[in-house]
Subunit: 393 residues, 2 copies
């Protein structure tokens, strides 16, 4: 009764049939599949869980709001409080709008950039994921070429390619959308070159175009102030979703004051965009991450995970790369052009009670303890060992 069994990014049938597809429950860093098997979850629902499954503080905030009301005939105070919290937390945010999907937020950003500038061209890094709407879905089946009219492409971390794309746009450049790191599937995760980030900022400013940071996947894992704050690069708008409410459905767009009028002039809405429970959960989540410096906590456990995996792979005679910010890494094997090694390793990890992904970046949460990490490293030892003889080391 569900096309393809499961569709979208959580579908495991394109990976290996032995990987868990349907889940029963989650608690902190642990999840249980429908067969009752327990796993340490290093995918965190592909990003949303950032302070742990069923975090009691977030759930209490959500529960208290649910007793009052969720979807009403207008927003509640929570919407104003959450917008204020974004403005107070994120230096580039002078205002905030809320939605349900990350795709809603990136689409609103593009629409706002066009409304503000009266121009049409949007520069996009080739291969970057910005959502699953017709203008950005990576699989163009059912989508018409016109849905991507006025998109022009550059290569991530290649400023001259962005400058060439901007030159092609001439006077019609409305915006540049870019992810804070290069997290394309089936690629090592690449950190942004700081000259590239600064160059995009300058390019947008020169062209009176909006620089849009698509922080949907990274937001609040690397830096609560925004993922390019450490580079000193401030975008004009930031799209958020995934982790901002610890799994409660919410997207957000924040922006600088010069774009506020344009943002209020476009018509975007949804039946549940003003619902209060997700907003209460978001306030609790962001407050927790700020108070306990969540990104730093995940950096520490993530670093331990990285050194452990590098050490265990090497001890077993395999050369791996473990790339990206340690809070959102991906593991790949040398000499593995068809991803056979990493898929085998992923299946072995699942058998030993750890959920990772062979070619999508993983996600840590603040619920992962040192003990969890050490258990993952121990499992990896078995997984690497199981490959000896089957694959060239």
């Amino acid at each position: 009764v569900i096309p393809g069994g499961v569709y979208g990014h959580l579908k495991t049938s394109g990976l290996d049939p032995s990987l868990p597809q349907f889940f029963e429950r989650g608690d902190g860093s642990q999840v249980w599949d429908v067969d009752g098997k327990q796993y340490t979850d290093l995918m965190c629902s592909f990003g949303p869980m950032i302070v742990g499954h069923g975090n009691p503080i977030v759930r209490r905030a959500a529960q208290q709001q649910a007793e009052l009301g969720d979807t009403l005939s207008g927003p509640t105070k929570r919407m104003v409080e959450l917008a204020e919290l974004f403005v107070e937390t994120v230096p580039s945010a002078d205002w905030a709008m809320f939605s349900k999907n990350g795709t809603d937020a990136t689409t609103m950003a593009v629409t706002t950039a066009r409304a503000a500038t009266g121009k049409r061209v949007i520069l996009v890094a080739r291969g970057s994921y910005h959502g699953a709407a017709p203008w950005c879905t990576p699989n163009p089946l059912g989508v018409v070429a016109e849905d991507r009219a006025f998109l022009k492409y550059f290569e991530y971390n290649d400023l001259p390619s962005a400058e060439r794309a901007a030159a092609e746009a001439g006077g019609d450049l409305a915006g540049i959308i870019v992810t804070p790191i290069r997290h394309d599937m089936k690629h090592d995760v690449e950190l942004p070159d700081s000259a590239f980030a600064r160059g995009l900022r300058a390019l947008a400013t020169r062209a009176s175009a909006a620089l849009i940071l698509d922080d949907v996947r990274c937001g609040f894992r690397l830096n609560v102030q925004g993922s390019w704050e450490n580079l000193g690069v401030r975008p004009d708008m930031v799209a958020w979703s995934k982790a901002i409410a610890n799994g409660f459905p919410l997207g957000a767009l924040t922006g600088v004051s010069s774009l506020k009028e344009a943002a209020s002039s476009i018509f975007v809405t949804g039946s549940f965009w003003y619902s209060a429970v997700s907003m209460a959960a978001s306030i609790a989540t962001i407050t927790l991450l700020r108070e306990h410096n969540g990104p730093e906590q995940m950096r520490l456990t993530g670093s331990r995970l990285r050194s452990g995996l590098l050490e265990r792979s090497s001890a077993n005679g395999f050369a791996i790369r473990h790339t990206g910010p340690v809070q959102m890494p991906v593991l790949s094997f040398d000499d593995d052009p068809n991803f056979e090694k990493v898929l085998h390793w992923t299946v072995q990890m699942a058998e030993r009670g750890v959920i990772v992904h062979p070619w999508h970046n993983w996600f840590l949460s603040t619920a992962h303890t040192i003990e969890d990490i050490d258990r993952v490293i121990a499992a990896s030892d078995y997984a690497f060992a199981s490959m000896r003889g089957k694959f060239d080391a």
Copy 2:
């Protein structure tokens, strides 16, 4: 900190500043605004609330699921159960996919129609609302003309106009999207002419195109089997959202088996599309509506509301129209081209503790009792009386 104060369809600043904008809580048929004023809610959050704010059975189902898990690294059994419930309840549904927004569902339907047929043109009724994405938002600011390439327009309830649009599409007709009733803002609500509905069905079949019913706004209020079931017209796909989970965020697309493969071939997804709490709430909501024949219950209270309002307006010397299905009516005054009378009346109703809308259809729920309806009718008497002298009767 929020562009425009509030944006989207819940914004009251375009109506009258005295109308309530921010709410504190809801319970059954009643809501309280942030100033503590209580209202009988005839907007039901613009559709989502169908068995009452905070319905205890729906909330218990959601709460039980929340204790297990919501957004996990895959769906739970609830997704399969809910898909099965749709298939069992809705005759045209052989499969179901889930999302968060109604716009997600209509957009998936269009994408599936194009993927299935390899054709591009979609027929749309002029002025019909199908969501707030670039291809369908009613305000094209920030949207490029190309986002609507291959849309061709017909007039609602005018079959020859649809046949002309289909002829223009030639061999490139992928689908026809239509709402079950004409519920355009600032128009009386129009029921579908049955020859029109049957004609669209025949037209789609003849052109090997998909007939898409956009039941986002009406779904489960008129008929739990789908809003055109009483006309004997079965669509190929139905887009759902709003009331399907009594305010928990959820969208759905259902379709016939011949479109299942196409539906599984497109790439659509979202971070929270597989979350279990909204699905548990939806199972409880649909089950309640089926068991207690919710649409019939709303038809009875809605009929009482209609006769009461017609009687009170007439007694006060005003000629009104109260159009549409009684579960989703709209009220308009004769000789009110600028909507001044109806806006004044709406403001008076709010003052007397009733939330209605001057030019968007209202929504009844099964939580509205006879006493609620009689209270609304009594309030209307004051509201009509307050207009005497101010407006020509």
